[in-house]
Amino acid sequence: MRTRKPTLIPPPIAIFGTFAMLLILVPFIGLAQRTPWGSFLSILGESSVRSAISLSLLVASVSAFICLILGLPLGWILARSQSLWMRLLRAIVLLPMVLPPVAGGTALLFALGRRGFVGQKLDEWFGITLPFTTTGAIIAATFVSLPFFVLAIETSINDLNRDFEESAMSLGSSPTRTFFSVTVPLIRTGLIAGLTLSWARALGEFGATITFAGDNPGRTRTLPLELFVALESDPNRAVVIGMIMIIISLGVLITLRGRWIGQK
């Protein structure tokens, strides 16, 4: 005889929950059924697509690396500082997370663009212009992804028992050594999660990039830009590029399954 399991999900929850699931699932199914699988590999092999992929990976990886170098200290400061000013600063630092990327890109343009108040000096003094360069694309991607990393670090440090750092210092370790030999190893789970999250955010970055860095094939035309351009000329290519991005993102999520899917 089969044992019947008791119903655990109340009907209204099941209905609305299913709708929510469909809302996310259906577009992916739409994309998958529309994908010209026969020409998938040939489109993937096109030089413009390949260059967009490698540019995207480069921009996302460099941006994640910058997040690590700059965001780790910032996260530490935000977690440990008690001052009122820091709390205000914290809100501003996290702003790009909720700000529409186009607005962020506009802000970058008026600061670091050729006529921006910093960009103008960069051009005059060093001959550096950021728009239409890969550096510009990296800056745009870092601008939007840094808060994700900083937040992950801040949360991890807040959760960390201070006994470990205090003991390390009492055992003769300087604050700097304590940071690298105790704090960083102990928050590595949060650090890796933050790194992946900011990498994924940088990979999908579109709005700030196109506004600030513009569309320059081979230099700033990352996968999302390539997709946007293709949508107007060749829908088949657009679909394939969309599929590529789904595969990369799904790969990232599965790598982090311990955090966001299943595994309890």
Binding site: N161, D163, F164, E166, S167, A168, M169, S170, L171, G172, S173, S174, P175, R177, T178, S181, V182, P185, L186, R188
Partner: protein, 351 residues
């Protein structure tokens, strides 16, 4: 010259703290007090984790904290090591690497570090678990690793915050024996009266952020400053060699035990378990020995009687029975205790 001298004030949260005391070179000072009395805060001040707001702290000849003179030596530059109550054994390092940690902070050659780690592992009986990570260890093992690491740092003054809390009795008596024989200057916060009396050469009673009593264990237990101290130190502690039901007390005399033991043991019994008689008590075969009354301290209702026979002890009796027995300083009488009132723990052996 004293090893450490503190005369200063600080604040923890909203609790004002004010301490004044000193420790001699090699002395073992035990700090006792109720929860939240400011015992841990005292250690934090000494270690540099809680700065003074007023006054001076000096270690040896060096002033390490003095707000007026604008001197503050950070924790890593002080010759102290504070072992926190949690032990804080680094979870990402194995046993040997935890012990090597303080040595790596000094400019020591790696050859010497390896040798020192090896010796420490041996001394703390940790060689077999040297490669294990902390989360695989028992509470007793963890507390030994924490202590081994503190000792490896070779501090001039060792600060321990309840190093034996929440571990089993065998592990804690091993640690207590180790600390008792340690030559390093030691300041130990303890929640355990046995530990306080076994290790402490001097006792500091802290209450409400202040030191309310200082003295030798004998002084503090015969003249406790308040009822909490009296209850806390309501204990007699002796070391003995047990064979069968008999325990030969170090220094003379013997007591009959309720169970058979065949090793070196610590014996403890509450002061209130001792009965005093002016004539030889007869009846059940109890532990009876002849004593002389050496001290008498009354708080109105109960009297703490310091007695000396083959060994010293403190008895607590009521004022009424004191009057009835007509005890005075120098009076000879009989002390008795039931075998099942005597608590026996093996002396620092790890199975």
């Amino acid at each position: 010259m004293s090893a450490l001298k503190l005369d200063g004030e600080s604040v923890l949260g909203s609790t004002p703290l004010e301490y004044s005391f000193q420790v001699e070179e090699g002395e073992h000072l035990v700090v006792i007090g109720q929860n939240g009395a400011g015992k841990s805060a005292l250690l934090r001040i000494l270690a540099g984790l809680l700065p003074l707001t007023k006054g001076t702290l000096s270690i040896g000849k060096q002033i390490v904290d003095s707000p007026v003179e604008n001197i503050f030596l950070p924790p890593h530059k002080r010759p102290t090591v504070l072992q926190l109550q949690t032990g804080a054994v680094f979870p990402h390092l194995n046993v040997a690497k935890n012990i090597a940690y303080p040595l790596r902070q000094m400019k020591t050659e790696s050859k010497k570090i390896r040798k020192a780690v090896e010796e420490t592992l041996e001394r703390f009986q940790l060689s077999e678990i040297r490669n294990r990570l902390p989360h695989t260890l028992s509470g007793g093992q963890l507390s030994r690793v924490a202590l081994a690491r503190s000792i490896a740092a070779n501090p001039r003054i060792l600060l321990l915050d309840e190093p034996t809390s929440s571990i089993d009795i065998e592990a804690s008596s091993w640690i207590d024996e180790f600390l008792k024989d340690l030559r390093t200057t030691l300041i130990l916060v303890s929640h355990d009266p046995v530990e306080a009396l076994v290790i402490g050469q001097r006792i500091l009673v802290v209450d409400n952020g202040r030191i309310i009593q200082k003295g030798t264990p004998a002084d503090v237990s015969t003249q406790p400053t308040n009822s909490w101290v009296a209850k806390f130190l309501n204990l007699n502690i002796l070391t003995a060699s047990a064979s069968g039901f008999e325990a030969k007390i170090d220094g003379g005399g013997s007591l009959r035990l309720a169970e058979k033991w065949n090793e070196r043991v610590n014996i403890s019994f509450p002061s209130s378990a001792i009965s005093l008689y002016t004539n030889t008590p007869d009846g059940s075969p109890r532990n009876v020995w002849e004593v002389t009354v050496k001290t008498l301290h009354s708080d109105g209702e109960i009297v703490r009687v310091g007695i000396e026979g083959p060994f010293k002890a403190t008895a607590i009796i009521t004022q009424e029975s004191l009057d009835h027995l007509d005890l005075r300083l120098g009076t000879k009488c009989w002390a008795a205790i039931k075998a099942n009132e005597i608590n026996v723990t093996p002396k620092g052996s790890l199975g």
